[in-house]
Symmetry: C2
Subunit: 451 residues, 2 copies
């Protein structure tokens, strides 16, 4: 394979250890591994040639982007080639008249939104990290705006995928809906690179709202904050963002991002709409919060203030890490039916405290999705053991109430066992049959999703 393709890719065929080592970085808590070979294709035909050669040589393939995944989803595999798709980063087409655009997988969400600015449209999915669209498709990502705009599941209209045999298929259409055949778009979205290489995506865009109001909203109790979220969702108020930060998270963000928020359970809220519409939403929210010990809901239309707020929220992971010198963060990712959120978060807080761990709780709570950021030192294996137990307890509770072991980070290597607990042996066996039907040589991102 190296003989056949190495010359064609030249310096994008990376065998030297120091350059390969750059692909070891990962945000997650899983150990970073050194890939054996890294290839950086720049076109669909290069991806096809690479995949055909890998297939012929039976060399496994691990797609990688900019390394922001959290469950080891793109971790290197011994004997495999890591395919870095971050260089395929063209915005192929923007079609504002159809509220969509076509991108290569290496485009990051921030760059996409910069390129869209003049159109009055934006791409709403915001997992915090400046991930690539390919990576976000891979894990079915969501984030802060999902409560209003949906996740990648709702915002990917179609894909171009290079299959393990090197052939290229198209899925989906540019229409808003279709009943034509099996929904391949949704099968590949969230398949974490285990079925093929996404080389192009058509995604939905949304109008930049006329008015945006954002602000932080302190509560006397964690329960009060969460009950306000539940009431908001049940009442159908179309909040654009509704994030929870517990007092530990607020303390971390204050210190790291230079904020001065009271160390209370706090909701970060954003409303989108017409001037009258957002005011109506704000009044509804304030009314709902009153019953649950809500403090003053002070919202601002000032773009700079809003940026400061969301920058602090997005810095929550490094802010948590900075709480303990030399620590790493392990971000769990639980999603429950909205009515079970208060109990889920109360359980989490109790379990963290009982285990004596440092761990802020944050979350895209409007979706019933929350994260615990365990702040752990690698030289304290005993704390990791306790964190693992807490994590298993969070998953157990979520599954017992019909929730999921991962709302947005994907399975990767960290949730493979939980996947079976969640869906049952039969459903996971069916997933494996689908995997084998598409990838009979088991070449695509081996060791991920399935045990």
């Amino acid at each position: 394979m190296t003989r056949a393709l190495g010359a064609r890719f030249a310096d994008r065929w990376i065998t030297g250890e120091s350059r390969r080592a750059q692909f070891m970085t990962a945000e997650g808590h899983h150990q970073a591994l050194l890939p054996d070979l890294v290839v950086q294709p720049e076109s669909v035909s290069e991806v096809q040639a690479l995949m055909s050669a890998a297939s012929a040589a039976r060399v496994p393939v691990v797609p990688v982007g900019v390394g922001t995944s959290l469950e080891g989803n793109a971790g290197a595999v011994a004997g495999a080639v890591s395919v870095d798709l971050s260089g395929m980063d063209r915005v192929v087409e923007v079609a504002p008249e159809d509220l969509l655009c076509v991108v290569e997988p290496g485009v990051t969400r921030e760059r996409l939104n910069e390129e869209l600015r003049a159109t009055g449209l934006f791409f709403p999915i915001d997992p915090g990290a400046n991930a690539t669209l390919g990576g976000m498709i891979s894990t079915r990502a969501s984030g802060t705006n999902a409560v209003r705009y949906g996740t990648m599941r709702e915002n990917v209209l179609g894909l171009k995928v290079v299959l393990p045999d090197g052939s290229l298929i198209r899925t989906g259409t540019r229409a808003r809906k279709s009943a034509a055949g099996y929904d391949l778009t949704h099968l590949f979205t969230g398949s974490e690179g285990t079925l093929g290489l996404v080389v192009e995506a058509t995604v939905r865009l949304h109008g930049i709202p006329e008015t945006v109001l954002a602000g932080s909203w302190p509560f006397e109790t964690l329960e009060g904050a969460v009950e306000t979220v539940i009431a908001t969702i049940q009442s159908g108020v179309p909040v654009a963002r509704m994030e929870l930060l517990d007092p530990v998270a607020i303390r971390a963000c204050n210190a790291y991002a230079g904020l001065d928020l009271p160390e209370l359970p706090t909701l970060f809220v954003e409303l989108h709409g017409s001037p009258a519409g957002v005011n109506e939403q704000r009044n509804l929210l304030a009314e709902l919060g009153e019953a649950f010990s809500g403090g003053d809901l002070i919202m601002s239309a000032d773009a700079d203030e809003q940026r400061r707020l969301w920058r602090a929220r997005h810095a929550a992971l490094p802010a948590a890490r900075a709480m303990v010198p030399g620590a790493v963060t392990w971000s769990t990712d639980i999603c429950v039916p909205i009515s079970k959120l208060a109990q889920a978060i109360a359980n989490a807080r109790d379990a963290i405290d009982a285990a004596g761990l440092v761990a802020p709780i944050l979350g895209h709570v409007g979706d019933g999705n929350y994260h615990v950021f365990f702040v752990l030192r690698r030289d304290d294996p005993e704390a990791w053991t306790r964190a693992k137990l807490v994590n298993e307890g969070l998953i157990d509770f979520a599954l017992s109430v019909g929730g999921t072991c991962t709302g947005e980070h994907g399975v990767g290597v960290g949730k493979r066992e939980a996947l079976v607990r969640e869906h049952g042996e039969g459903a996971v066996a069916l997933m494996r049959r689908l995997k084998t039907a598409i990838d009979p040589g088991q070449l695509m991102n081996p060791g991920k999703v399935f045990l």
Copy 2:
């Protein structure tokens, strides 16, 4: 198989010709066929026993509901058993606190909404016909409310499915989102009974809006009506329903449903929201329509008037049929990117007129989805030939602009060739591989979706 199971099912094991003949009725233009055997299971375990026996005996299985599908999706197959799931019609659970409910496949959408009324919630997907939820899952149905609330794709959270080997799996969760493994829910939604038998579904519910305004809106020109729709969608006005009826459709509905609307291109519009919100939406709409020859947009909050309007819309298919004595209707189903809708509909009108056919144009135009109702007599084969040519032209245009050959009716037997044109040989071959992975004996609804 009959020996093994006939006694167990007793009079729900239907072999007599006159009773089997009741399952020949279908709304569509495809020839109704007499099933060889009809079985009416009443529980999941009966469906499993039936499927196991069918699998052992290599007898194909055709799932059927209440017979409202339009592309022969549930048509009988020689040598197969038709499994009538309409008797499995329990609303298993309503969980208003999580905005969801759990239903058996035979529940019809009207009955579901009756049962939900006291909760203040509703299930929005409304394909016109009083279809079963199972049938709507099968074809990935949508209808009038999809522009605001999405289609079955967006509203099915999870399924229980009996696989061809008789085993039972669960897909999805009760959480609003999940990144846990392959998206089996979306794979089965829209698979038209070719992969397994859906025996239970968890679907999303939505709050009954505080205020509903509805009305009809005449335009001087068809183009003006459609351009108004395009501008509405591009502006992001969250219309709940936005239906087009061309003058031929209006004439048919006037005659059939006792309306007195001017015979002009007309939009039926419905707005959901707070009193202030729907007024704001109405004003935006009226402003947009002014530029495109829009007449007066008169909307009413009166529930009876609204019911009359939508009953007339839903009666459009029989109304069209009544235009020509002894005729049947053939409803096409095209969906294009919104910016191409005006051209698509203008082309359709020209082609219909050039072919000398009677055919109103209607549609869920907010989604870019429209129907032509060809009104044809079975004894006029030459007119059918012309209709077929027109239909092919509509599909060709849709595919040339990135649209789809079916927005909501599914492939059935009528769109099998178009499916290949739409997605290409490679993608359809992949769908077949998935089919074979799940249904190696090719037992499930044979002859549908694939040629």
